[in-house]
């Protein structure tokens, strides 16, 4: 199970712009490195990240081997109404990890 770190406010005022930070532990193996025997280490990267708020996509990222290990993104969202914020990562093999927070808007 990958370690996921999220920074998201628990409460916000309607219309407020909030900052969301998301990091997942992952080597983001580029596919260019070689092991001690000189064999190429196969590429293994997280390719997609998606953040939804009240089931609507707020932010999406497509990652490439040029994205550093333990991919981190910080972005913004406009608080509209109380609801769940979901963070979903998907790797090149289709495996996915997710985390959920609830934002209370009042």
């Amino acid at each position: 199970m990958a370690v996921i770190r999220i920074s998201a406010p628990e409460t916000a005022k309607p219309g407020e712009i909030i900052e969301l930070k998301a990091m997942i532990q992952h080597p983001m193996e580029t596919g260019y490195r070689r092991d001690q025997k000189g064999k190429i280490i196969p590429r293994d990267i997280i390719t997609d990240f998606r953040c939804t708020y009240n089931d609507a996509v707020v932010f999406e990222a497509e990652f490439f081997p040029g994205t550093a290990a333990n991919p981190f993104v910080s972005f913004f969202a406009r608080a509209v109404q109380t609801g769940p914020i979901e963070f979903v990562w998907t790797d090149q093999h289709g495996q996915s990890w997710s985390e959920r927070r609830v934002l209370t808007v009042s």
């Binding site: 712009i17 490195r33 932010f59 999406e60 497509e62 040029g66 910080s74 972005f75």
Partner: protein
């Protein structure tokens, strides 16, 4: 007492591996895998087509010196009110020197509230990164910033 010609075998092996590693890093990376600025242009064309790209609106914050190219923090911000009528649709970070020019592509919308994204990237050497922002009206804007990479993210490390 110094015995310059009789290092223990392990030391020699280590030194050889280190030297070999450095050599591989230096020689292999800039050859077929390394992208040329033309590759960056092609990557941009593949993403956005042949539309004109104007300079402005996009600000890229990079450290002037990156000690470790394996993880360089950057922040992109685009001058946009982020309303339904006028917002940023896509932001692409393009490297003219990495083996794959695309580093990360972000999709935003009016719900983002603010067109600002931070992330951490790998850089295979000193270079000038390009960030292209596509607005909802289809217009394209580019911002650039250079960083001096002391220790490149390379195929070995």
């Amino acid at each position: 007492m110094s015995r310059p010609h009789s290092h223990p075998p392990l030391w020699r092996r280590r030194a050889f591996l280190a030297a070999a590693g450095a050599a591989v890093c230096l020689t292999f990376l800039p050859l077929p895998a390394a992208a040329e600025p033309e590759d960056a242009d092609e990557a941009i064309r593949n993403l956005f087509g042949d539309r004109p790209i104007r300079e402005g609106k996009v600000t890229l914050k990079l450290p002037p010196i990156a000690e470790n190219g394996n993880s360089v923090q950057l922040t992109v911000s685009v001058d946009s009110p982020m309303t339904e009528q006028d917002h940023v649709r896509k932001i692409a970070i393009i490297s003219p020197r990495n083996p794959i020019p695309e580093i990360a592509i972000f999709n935003l919308g009016p719900y983002s509230g603010r067109a600002e994204v931070s992330t951490r990237v790998r850089l295979a050497g000193t270079q000038s990164l390009r960030v292209i922002a596509e607005m909802n009206d289809g217009s394209l804007w580019v911002g650039k910033a250079s960083t001096y990479v002391t220790l490149a993210a390379c195929i070995i490390g």
